[in-house]
């Protein structure tokens, strides 16, 4: 009895935490999803097709790129699928980071959590891990809420695409980098972290200028992680 109660209280408090962390982020996610729906319709996809894309692919940046390719007439299956794969390669790094937590869980749950691993849910879950430890319910809650928001926003954007002014024109897309900033800045507490961040920033700027698509994210993340790993090895006591 007593245990049951504690259990339930724990679950409610997790949901409160999920809502609290997801709501500010949705200020950035909703305009992004609306824009995805609007752009999909503008490129000639039906409301069903663009909503299906958000439901099945669930990866904003690659969806925008695919829509761009479709509307510019580059509609070859192989090229779009290959581009999607390359743009999303960064998930391999995120997945490798999450693997020690995921691998302790039952298989079906692992596969489900992997599907829900997007930039936003990954960033929130990692920050939760460092504050309080890993919690499956938190991870699942954050992923499903972000999934629902993404799906609904795409659908509504597609449905009302003629009557909504372009939300990105207002700079509302700034909400996502702002959220990431609150997650990043507390991490920069020691010298290694600061240098990792600096290397990543320089590589990302260079990559945005000279590399195609989203390659800058992968290049910056790999280069900065390597530098961090090397510094870690030469200074085994710093945590």
């Amino acid at each position: 009895m007593e245990k049951n109660k504690t259990c339930r209280r724990l679950k409610t408090s997790i949901w409160k935490e999920v809502l609290q962390d997801c709501l500010p982020m949705s200020a950035g996610l909703i305009p992004f999803g609306l824009t995805c729906g609007i752009m999909g319709r503008t490129a000639g996809l039906s409301t069903f097709e663009i909503t299906l894309m958000s439901a099945a692919v669930f990866a904003g940046a690659s969806q925008f790129i695919a829509i761009g390719m479709l509307s510019s007439g580059v509609a070859s299956w192989g090229l779009i699928v290959l581009t999607t794969f390359l743009v999303n390669l960064r998930h391999l790094l995120m997945g490798a980071y999450m693997a020690p937590y995921f691998l302790k869980l039952p298989r079906p749950l692992q596969y489900l959590l992997a599907f829900g691993m997007v930039d936003e849910s990954y960033a929130l879950t990692v920050s939760r891990i460092e504050r309080k430890g890993y919690d499956v319910n938190y991870n699942l809650g954050v992923s499903s809420l972000i999934y629902i928001i993404w799906l609904l926003a795409t659908f509504l954007g597609a449905l009302f695409y003629q009557s909504i002014p372009d939300p990105l024109e207002w700079g509302i897309d700034f909400a996502l980098p702002a959220t990431f900033m609150v997650l990043l800045i507390p991490r920069l507490a020691n010298r290694t972290a600061l240098i990792v961040s600096l290397v990543s920033a320089l590589c990302a700027v260079w990559g945005t200028l000279y590399l195609p698509g989203s390659w800058y994210i992968i290049v910056a993340a790999v280069a900065a992680t390597l530098v961090g790993g090397i510094m870690e090895r030469s200074k085994p006591n710093e945590r």
């Binding site: 039906s46 097709e49 669930f58 995120m94 980071y97 691998l103 980098p177 702002a178 910056a220």
Partner: protein, 107 residues
Amino acid sequence: MNGKIILIIFGMAAATYLTRIGAQLIFAHAGMPAWLERWLKHVPTAFLTALIVPELLLPQGYLDLTFNNSYLLAGIVAAFTAYKTKNVLLTIVLGMGVIITLNKLIL
């Protein structure tokens, strides 16, 4: 409904899922070596930085370090707010306030 588009969507979904499950499939069999775990500790920091910085410094695709770049100014305000308060909502509101003020009222 366009069959070609549906096939493209399913292809994209499969390719994306492969990138999400790939790391687990590898480490489920091989186990994760300790050195890799030490390196991966820095992935979130590197990754978050790579997501943020180009949005602020190159919002139009070219390097813009002038006062005309509202994202950069909003980013400075947001970074300061994030550092002082750690409050997500306040950081977003202040940052977006700067962008909207600059874009719609001044420029």
